[in-house]
Amino acid sequence: MMKTFSIGGVHPDDRKISAGCAIEVLPVPKTVYISMAQHLGAPAKPVVVPGDKVKTGQIIGEPAGFISAFVHSSVSGTVKSVGPRKDLAGNPVTHVEIEVDGDEWMEGIDTSDTLAAEVPADVQFIIDRIKGNGVVGLGGATFPTNVKLCPPPGKKADILILNGAECEPYLTSDYRIMIEKSRQIVVGAALMKKVLGVGRVVIGIEENKPEAIAMMSEAVRELAVSSPDYAGMEVMTLKKKYPQGGEKQLIDAVTRRQVKSMGLPIDVGAVVQNVATSLAVYEAVQKNKPLIDNTVTVTGECFPKQSNLLVRVGTPLSYIIDFLGGMPADAAKVISGGPMMGKAVSNLDAATLKGTSSVLFLTEAQTRRKPETNCIRCGKCAEACPMGLEPFLLNKLARNGMTDELEQNAVQDCIECGCCLYTCPANIPLLDYIRVAKGEVIRIMRSRTAPKK
């Protein structure tokens, strides 16, 4: 019996139509725009000024707070401007604009392909490399990885879970790296295992990716004989169900432990990292290569050329689209990320970020919302909610601004997976309101616990 999480979940169509496309390297554009807000927490502080010459991999932004991250130049060239530019949602964010000139890398970066499998003995060295090279979680939240790998005092992890579920339809970037760079991912996992001091590493992959399961198992087997650093690693096949890749769901699926409301995975002794993050950790530590590129799936039935591209951070979306043959005529929506949790793009001139995993094109018929009708109280939303909430109730409470009742009914536990809206037969936009109400309730809860001034 394959494992999966215990409550709710839905089964959207797979649609991994770009699964067979090997990763290609996207040529470097003429100009890149590197955002200073590519991670959760405080935006980085730019440390370059217009006119500066930068090399590929050079630091251009420094962390501005504990939860923040370094930002590196993904190209070599000249800084043209530093200032606000519209992001994917059209909101102004500080960007560094760099005009590309050649591709000269910083010294000390190993650009060779040889596998460096030896895990350094010095834990601090690993953490410093991860931090210094600006590695953030690539599973969606872009939480700075070095912070996540250093649990607060008194809390100890006993398991590292590598998230290879990729439960969102369409997305194949994790799948491709698991096939093409499986050994590197396993080395990355061993590095994080060393930092956390845990004995067990589980790589969770959904059953619909047999090739990835085979390749990763092979890599684990191969490396396990080479060094004790690779002991205690296993690949676990998970039953296909969305949202398996949700942090809390994945921990539940793998360990049967449930993270408490408002709690963190570390509370149940688990740390979850995406496979793409693991690859970034490998490159940062073993190759000293900053996080300046990532694999992006460009897909959609209406898009002429399915592909998985290795893209430099800061490449404008319009450049990627033009490179692949331009915007299809019947594409109605462009999504950064998957169709369940991704963000709709309103500004195609915006540039990719570290955490950009996909550019998805959907047609009007696929994505246009249907008119909302009466709730028939079928309870399908509650059945689908992986957190065991009652979206129909939360939606009503949210529309009436009843924050106390919202808190009692655990709106703060919502993970915004979208199962409720996906499944609602009456097309009620349940999550739209719940998401906003969740933010308000969490703000109220924080202000209550925060020390009064």
Partner: protein, 315 residues
């Protein structure tokens, strides 16, 4: 048969009398002693329970007035000075009259001025739309047009104009309770002095982008050029973050700023003559100066005539 009916009547009557006695006893036992003046004050309140005063309702406001023993911090924006005078009479207190206020929508982003660049397909709520992205036009500061303010208004004073896609405030119905100000996620609506004869001048834009960017998104945006700031003889205008703001306490309604504004972002409302075109800046100075320069009266009663915000079209 008859006896059954008689007995029924007797039984019910006795039961009724007994219950009445019980109710009376309970009522006297649990009677809450309250200052009778609270009831009196509540009677003169508008009774809208809108919360515009900062209290949970009219009764809570009345309680606060009675208990604090002063009206300095208590003001009913809905009832205005008239109601406050009545409250003062009931309690024998002094009241500080306030100039009547009105909600003002500071956005010029009509469909013509600010073409939409994408289609919003989520739930029609400004709050949700604002949390998602910058909006369906090039301007990330302007009105989102989903009507959260309309829903928030308890007095039916705001409606969406289908032609412009912007909310319109009915000055007669607006009580300046501030509900729309709180409801607007873009902080576009502001409570401003209603002004003598309802005349007022304000910058109808909150776009903080640099001039060129703002202008590209909306042809009637404030571009922060500062011409109005220089033209204002009373120092009422400040330009900060690429957007001008008129302090209504200093403004004397001379309308020099309206004349010099290159984009028509500054609006003048309810003036008898149409706002002069920018080219004719010099010519306009004389005429409307008289009423405008009149000292700022508290305007005991709001102008009776129903003057709609009709002058609110782009020049």
């Amino acid at each position: 048969m008859t006896t059954t009916i008689i007995w029924t009547i007797v039984a019910i009557t006795v039961l009724g009398v007994l219950l009445a006695v019980v109710l009376y006893l309970v009522a006297t036992k649990f009677k809450v002693e309250e200052d009778p003046r609270i009831d009196e004050v509540e009677k003169v309140m508008p009774g809208a329970n809108c919360g515009g005063c900062g209290f949970a309702g009219c009764r809570a406001f009345a309680q606060s007035c009675v208990e604090s023993g002063s009206l300095d911090n208590n003001f009913c924006p809905v009832g205005g000075n008239e109601v406050m005078k009545k409250v003062a009479a009931v309690l024998g207190l002094e009241v500080h009259e306030k100039a009547p206020m009105v909600a003002v929508v500071r956005c010029n982003g009509t469909c013509a001025n600010r073409p939409s660049v994408n289609d919003y397909d989520g739930y029609r709520s400004c709050k949700i739309k604002a949390a998602l992205y910058s909006g369906d036009t090039g301007c990330s500061y302007g009105c989102l047009g989903c009507g959260d303010c309309v829903a928030a208004c308890q007095f039916g004073a705001i409606s969406m104009d289908p032609a412009t896609g912007l909310p319109v405030v009915d000055e007669e119905k607006c009580t300046a309770c501030g509900a729309c100000v709180k409801a607007c996620p873009k902080q576009i609506i502001e409570l401003r002095n209603k002004g003598p004869k309802n005349r007022r001048v304000f910058v109808s834009c909150v776009n903080k982008d640099k001039g060129a960017v703002a202008r590209k998104a909306c042809s009637a945006a404030c571009i922060g050029c500062g011409k109005c700031e220089k033209a204002c003889p009373f120092g009422a205008i400040t330009v900060e973050n690429n957007v001008a703001y008129i302090d209504f306490n200093k403004c004397r309604l001379c309308r020099k700023c309206v004349a010099v504004c290159p984009t028509g972002a500054i609006h003048d409302i309810n003036f008898p003559t149409p706002a002069p075109a920018p080219e004719k800046a010099a010519a306009k100075l004389a005429a409307p100066a008289a009423p405008a320069a009149a000292p700022e009266t508290p305007a005991g009663k709001p102008a009776a005539a129903g003057s709609q915000e009709t002058g609110k079209k782009e020049e």
